[in-house]
Amino acid sequence: MIASTQAETMPLIELTGVTKVYGTGQAAMQALAGIDLRIEEGDFVAIMGHSGSGKSTCLNILGCLDSPTSGSYRFRGVEVSQLTRDQRARLRRFYLGFVFQGYNLLKRTSAIENVELPLIYRRVPARQRHQIARQTLASVGLEGWESHNPNELSGGQQQRVAIARAIVTGPSVLMADEPTGNLDSARSLEIMELLSRLNREQGITIVMVTHEPDMAAYAKRIVHFKDGRIESDEPNGRAH
């Protein structure tokens, strides 16, 4: 799909003049009022802002869950802003991983089966799938918890399973939407350590939405949103 020589020279993600308007006419609400954003391979970006600032909308567009109303979104140099639903699904399947605030694990489904789920959609054969999922679970520190269902795991452990599920396919970008929002501070720090380590050791690009400065502090770069625009975008001086 994308030549490797190109990939090195162009940014992984490039938003240019992206707007998003919900509704039409009088009820129209502008969530994004023109965003320009470049994210390079290997970056760890924290998106911050108050609720209604457009940060979640931006993440949804970055995660190809939603299409921009106007503007350009180039993913590895390929314009993806006007893709169809199924094309976006394929893009998510092969290049993106998601971590949500509420973990979003399948109930009554063991940890390893949850982690295998993206591999099923990628048509990975069962044996291989099992092996990869097991390794990935171990890499997030959940060796021995493979057969436990989500309701038998703590919040922190559930989020680890969710992270394992997001990275099991070796995605280009990990999209994390308030990954520590449901966790106490000790667990939150553990999760952030894990994300930070994945970014550092495996080179996974991470885009994380958060409203907690302590969590954003783990990122290499912090982008502040306000009223649908980028208010500030600067490297994180005190990155861990």
């Binding site: 869950l65 998510r92 998601f98 979003n104 399948l106 599920r165």
Partner: protein, 401 residues
């Protein structure tokens, strides 16, 4: 992928065994009733047609009563031996006249006891029914006239009473009296409706009337027409003769029936088939209701699993993969219900065959149709809920609690 989808569907169903079972109960009942109705109906129809076909096409049957079949009402005098003799004497073109009277009685030999069907008739009964003697002989004319205490027995009766012994010239007891066994029929086995044709004891008609039934009645007269003679003409002649014999006034309805095999067959199967069709239609409606039940529960399931669908979509599931997932689940549910219903229906027909005295006729065609139909119910009624799931907005679905 299909295999994974199937496994996933099975797991979803297992997760909610009770609900899944209640969901498909409508299908189970619907399919079971259709199968039972059709199987019993087929059995009844086959019973009638084979028993009539076995009589031959040039056969007429006289029975007392205003009309034959279900709902025959009103008193009608039985036939007598003389009626049969009159037909044989007065009407041309007739090959055989066989009066028949029968009753169920227990036959006893030594310590052995067997309940069988005892039939009083003439020796022409054997050629009319295509039965052959294995050993011994049939009744002589003098025995028939005199009402001698002799009998011809079928293979089943021999086996039950005599075991390996030769029954000829032994005496068996029927009711209070003993009869000498003079003949043994060749085995005919079961007929196609599962009735044992060898479970029979034949007596001369007069003997039967005097010693078993105690009256002069003949329940049935069978007449076979010579080849090349018009059955319709003979039928007409017999009817006129019988009206005479029974002294029916002009304008008075017949109090007997003369039917040829086609009429008998048509009348009996017609009723059975109409009833089968009607009950089958009612059962089919319950299948429809069962389908609506599946749709209802699938809709509930989609709503319950909205977040799961959102997660799957976010991970990269295509619309059609989500559609397939829910559709397969509905089809697995409904066809499992169908399979259960088929087993239940066949079991019920099998259990009812004795109570209703209808043979069990397994029709693979109807089993296959019922299965495919139940699967189709799953497709039709599962499609809308599945489409609803597939069309969910992933962002909304992810937020759904």
């Amino acid at each position: 992928m299909v295999w994974n989808t199937l496994l996933l569907a099975l797991r979803e169903i297992r997760r909610n065994v009770m609900r899944s079972f209640l969901t498909v109960l409508g299908i189970v009942i619907g399919v079971a009733s259709v199968i039972t109705m059709v199987t019993l109906g087929k059995g009844a129809t086959q019973q009638v047609t084979t028993s009539i076909a076995s009589m031959g096409s040039n056969l007429l049957m006289l029975s007392p009563g205003k009309r034959m079949g279900p709902g025959s009402a009103g008193f009608a005098p039985a036939f007598k031996i003389e009626d049969g003799e009159a037909i044989a004497r007065e009407i041309g073109g007739i090959a055989m006249v066989v009066p028949v009277a029968s009753r169920s009685t227990s036959a006893i030999y030594g310590h052995e006891n067997w309940s069988t069907s005892v039939t009083g008739t003439t020796s022409t009964f054997l050629s009319l029914r295509n039965m052959r003697l294995g050993s011994g002989r049939s009744f002589s004319d003098s025995e028939a006239r005199a009402g001698a205490a002799v009998c011809v027995i079928g293979q089943t009766v021999r086996e039950k009473l005599f075991g390996g012994q030769d029954p000829l010239n032994n005496r068996i007891r029927l009711g209070a009296l003993s009869f000498q066994v003079i003949g043994l029929l060749e085995s005919k086995g079961q007929n196609s409706m599962g009735m044992d044709q060898d479970d029979i004891v034949l007596l001369p008609l007069r003997t039967f009337q005097r010693r078993i039934s105690g009256n002069q009645d003949v329940s049935l007269i069978q007449v076979s027409v010579q080849d090349g003679v018009s059955t319709e003409k003979v039928q007409r002649d017999i009817r006129l003769l019988m009206r005479n014999c029974r002294r029916l006034a002009v304008g008075e309805d017949d109090n007997f029936n003369v039917m040829d095999t086609k009429e008998i067959s048509k009348m009996l199967t017609g009723t059975t088939m109409m009833l089968t069709g009607l009950l089958g239609a009612v059962a089919a409606v319950s299948l429809l209701v069962g389908g609506i039940g599946i749709m209802n529960i699938m809709l509930v399931s989609v709503t319950e699993r909205t977040q799961e669908v959102g997660t799957r979509l976010a991970i990269g599931a295509l619309e059609r993969e989500v559609l397939l997932q829910f559709l397969v689940e509905a089809v697995v549910l409904s066809s499992a219900g169908g399979m259960f219903g088929i087993l239940l229906g066949l079991g019920a027909s099998f259990a009812l065959k004795n109570a209703l005295m209808v043979p069990f006729v397994l029709d693979p065609k109807i089993v296959i149709i019922a299965f495919l139909f139940s699967a189709a119910v799953g497709v039709v009624f599962g499609y809308f809920p599945a489409l609803k799931a597939a069309r969910l907005d992933p962002i909304e679905a992810l937020r759904h609690e």
